[in-house]
Symmetry: C2
Subunit: 384 residues, 2 copies
């Protein structure tokens, strides 16, 4: 319905057809995909989720979104009324503010993510923030590996968070935990929690709704394809309940973008069927892991101790420096103009470095540039 048809196929222009992969028929690319996404893709992605997260015992079928930002935006439509509160660490991806803070007028409730010694999560700060919510609904975001710091939970932190969630539901709160698993799989240290907390959260309590946001953007290095997924999990979740959530989400997709691009879904679907794909992902992960270890070796060097502290990192694409005595934005500009190096100032003191973009040989020189930029900007009486 709603498309023109010729010879029982979608009508298409030759100049367009010859630009799409030959292996796909017009039927596999040209028509609209349904608002929920390609059914076969949804099933294959679920299979993959469960392979990588054995703790998932039951959940909804993943819904296809225009990648992860869209998934987060849809959750805003579903769950946020103006003034609703959402708990985030102070180290959060800036787009949450735009998505939920501005668009849905949610109140973003920040806790200090790391303890003073920068050794790990500031669990007391999280607990305090969670229990000071005056509404009967608590929305918490878990984004590990974290953007911007590249930090992933270790096991005891995971258990602490699960216990915290149990305590909240025991107090009668409705809890929504959003697992923003954008960088899932990219953990580089043995101690990292390998699975998303989504699986365990889905078995915790019938008053806790776990939501998994994931996709091929970073997991399969397919940034521009815009294919992500939203999956729900709740203890004792029935098919009827999951269907209701799905229908609500599909309505929100229709009313915002109608449907997600078909060609991106098709490419992901076919690539998931390849027998090599997981090996290829592992190979790329190894490359990033080597960059991670090199970065770790460099940034903790004692020669830089007067220039920055290092936020805990063990995973993902990025790491963050807490600069000493200079403004991160000034350092960013100095890096850009004098050294043609790009970085992101995520706060007054913090500089995000994407080690995922750096060849091994470029890592040491890059941090040398950062140090030199800091050196130039330090007040005269403050230099080493």
């Amino acid at each position: 319905m709603g498309i023109a048809v010729e010879n029982s196929q979608p009508m298409y222009l030759e100049s367009v057809k010859k630009l799409v992969p030959e292996s796909f028929s017009a039927e596999e690319i040209f028509p609209y995909a349904s608002s929920k996404g390609l059914p076969e893709l949804r099933k294959l992605w679920q299979k993959r989720q469960r392979l990588k997260n054995p703790s998932i015992k039951q959940s909804s079928l993943p819904m296809v979104t225009n990648a992860l930002t869209h998934g987060l935006s849809l959750l805003g439509n579903l769950f946020f009324n103006p003034g609703d509160q959402v708990i985030l660490p102070d180290q959060f991806w800036g787009n949450y503010k735009l998505l939920w803070g501005i668009h849905h007028q949610a109140q973003i409730n920040i806790f200090s993510m790391f303890d003073d010694q920068l050794n790990g999560l500031n669990l007391e700060a999280l607990q305090q923030k969670a229990f000071c919510q005056d509404s009967d609904k608590v929305v918490l975001v878990l984004n590990f590996p974290n953007n911007p710091t590249g930090y992933t939970l270790v096991e005891e932190e995971s258990q602490y968070i699960l216990k915290l969630c149990s305590e909240l539901t025991a107090k009668g709160k409705k809890v929504i935990v959003v697992c923003d698993d954008a960088y899932a799989g990219l953990s580089f240290e043995e101690s990292c929690k390998k699975e998303s907390l989504f699986g365990e959260l889905s078995e915790l309590d019938s008053k806790l709704l776990a939501v998994k946001i994931d996709g091929c953007t970073k997991e399969h290095f397919m940034w521009g394809f815009r294919v992500g997924f939203v999956t729900f999990g709740i203890k004792g979740g029935t098919e009827a309940l999951y269907n209701a959530l799905e229908t609500k989400l599909a309505g929100s997709i229709r009313g915002g973008i109608s449907n997600v691009n078909h060609i991106g879904q098709r490419v992901l679907l076919e690539s998931l069927k390849s027998s090599c794909i997981e090996k290829e992902v592992e190979d790329k992960k190894s490359i990033l892991q080597a960059r991670y270890f090199k970065t770790k070796e460099v940034v903790f060097s004692s020669k830089y101790k007067n220039y920055w502290d290092v936020y805990p990192f063990n995973s993902g694409y990025f790491m963050c420096l807490r600069l000493k005595g200079v403004e991160a934005e000034s350092v960013r500009l100095e890096l850009l103009h004098s050294f043609k190096v790009g970085a992101i100032a995520t706060s007054k003191t913090d500089l995000r470095i994407a080690f995922s973009c750096l060849e091994l040989r470029d890592i040491e020189p890059l941090f040398k540039c950062v140090a030199e930029a800091v050196e130039r900007l330090l007040p005269a009486d403050n230099t080493m």
Copy 2:
């Protein structure tokens, strides 16, 4: 920024790369496209807009959206506060209600689209609705060729609407006119207005903002690619004003979906450079035009006069029957179950038929099925 890099290229998996067109480099498909869209695509689409609409003298550079629904949704973000009113004909694409009525809580103000004899637009009804707005802002949607009726303005109707808009601004109203040009170019009668009213509206008054929503979805038969455009036009529009609108729209894109899929933009961009593309569009249009003429010949046949009236149509993908003595939804179900024919009931009496989906030889048999379905459902004392 924000993507992993290897050998100065985006990092990618071989299983994915071999599924994308060989003619494109990884750089041309894998990274994020900017929130405003590919710059070269925006320029080429503008060039094409002006070629097809010589009345456009100045306008903003088109912004890329996840096709037309997303464009309409973004306008809602920009212009609607809860309770704001928008004028639509009673023959409107159902998604407007979901988009603006539900999502933005706008009040949808309906006028009867056609005059009693179904000969053309009900201009008095439109005027009455436009002047009874009590707010100082009037939002009007022009969707021609219209979904669901397939009707396009004729010249004198266009002039009437332009005059009406002038009268509104003369009264001090701020006017926003949304030209939903989804089916642009598909006009099949000589009398049809060939251009969008966007060009003339853009020159009318500095208190009138014209917005053009268009894209390749129907104009280039690329439904699943999800690439559309939003373009602004206002009398005396300066670059600074257009940039401000663009920046606001880009923020709304970032906060909703981040950016539009790259591969769809790339395929459209390259196809626009083809020297054959306009000829190919004309060829497909000729096929649809032949179906249109055949449909027209069939539906007005006197043997059907007791079964339906025909809404005016002269363009687009669809036409609508106003059924006599039966409910459209019952006819739809009867058609589906007994004849395996799909149609859409757009109201209690109206049935939308997509002649764009029908081969020439199937048109006569289809309407025979509709007549038979009506016949079966008519109360016994009402049959011919």
